[in-house]
Symmetry: C2
Subunit: 194 residues, 2 copies
């Protein structure tokens, strides 16, 4: 069971799923595609084919649904990254293959940037803590990989790689994957070289 890019922001729920799953999958897709504030409850209700009371039975409020979507996103994104770099024999190869994995994401037809960066950009100080927690978790993972790879000054390298990854995500969002990939590969190679 591998995590595909479609799972990251795919075509939406299947009709045979139960009400809660359909709501969650529909919201997951619409929140990412159109934004949190721009997506109303009524739209999620209509597109998931669910009664309003069924929605409020499973989620006490819209904010609870947002939190559930972000938690699902966090889990799926981490799983997708893990699967994409499963073949790397060691930490060094894992880091070197990271741009390839990101490129597959950037070229996905539903790519619209990092859901957590977008959430934080939209909500500002009111953003759910999951937003910063996600990027902090990724930074911690990068630092651990740099340490495992035996790089010199691993925490310095990790912060540089983290900045490059986030920059590439935003660059792919604003200017497209073709604009983001060459500098991403070049900078990654430089940071990993020494």
């Amino acid at each position: 069971m591998t995590t595909t890019l479609d799972d990251l922001a795919g075509p939406g729920p299947q009709p045979e799923q139960d009400a809660r799953t359909r709501v969650l999958e529909t919201a997951y897709r619409l929140f990412y595609r159109d934004g949190l504030r721009a997506t109303g409850i009524d739209r999620i209700i209509a597109e998931s084919g669910v009664a309003k009371m069924s929605f409020y039975r499973h989620f006490p409020s819209k904010q609870a649904l947002v939190d559930a979507c972000l938690a699902l996103r966090h889990e799926r994104w981490n799983g997708w990254l893990e699967d994409s770099l499963r073949d790397a024999p060691d930490a060094r190869a894992w880091l070197a293959a990271l741009p390839d994995a990101l490129e597959g994401w950037f070229r996905s037809p539903w790519f619209r940037g990092c859901a957590f960066i977008n959430c934080h950009a939209e909500a500002g100080a009111d953003a759910p803590p999951m937003a910063v927690a996600h990027v902090r978790a990724l930074a911690a993972r990068l630092e651990q990989r740099c340490r495992d790879a035996g790089l010199t000054r691993p925490e310095v390298r990790a912060t540089e790689l983290m900045l490059v990854v986030e920059g590439a995500i935003v660059r792919a969002q604003m200017a497209g994957a073709d604009a983001a990939m060459p500098p991403l590969r070049g900078l990654f190679a430089r940071v990993l070289a020494d």
Copy 2:
């Protein structure tokens, strides 16, 4: 007359200004601080101390006000960058001093990331064209500076610097200036060194 950081997202309008200016300055501040969708017309009306009809006399719609704020932001941000790097004797020094200028911005009490990245993150495909135009203009300016500095492969360096700048802005937004500045300086030095 220099452009200060306060002008980028400062304390707001002065009461002696005319109605249009007060609306524009209030919206400029609230849109950046709270987001476009989260800021309603009524709030702008109330905080700028202006009648609703006075608002709609100067701006035909909320979208027109958003566009005017983005255009003002574009102009002020470019002016601020120009002023901050005015002392650089040549293009090479200009590029080397860019992280210092950015740090001043990141540590401003009203810093909340790039208004155009945030706008694009919030509105997605419906974002006004000014959003991508701003980052494209900055990329073009970086490339020209790289060319003027006599760097080898200036277009490659410029795209790398652009990715680093955008990454630093997002990193400062998500994790603070202290997390963004060391990798920003390190990567800048590496790209400019050769």
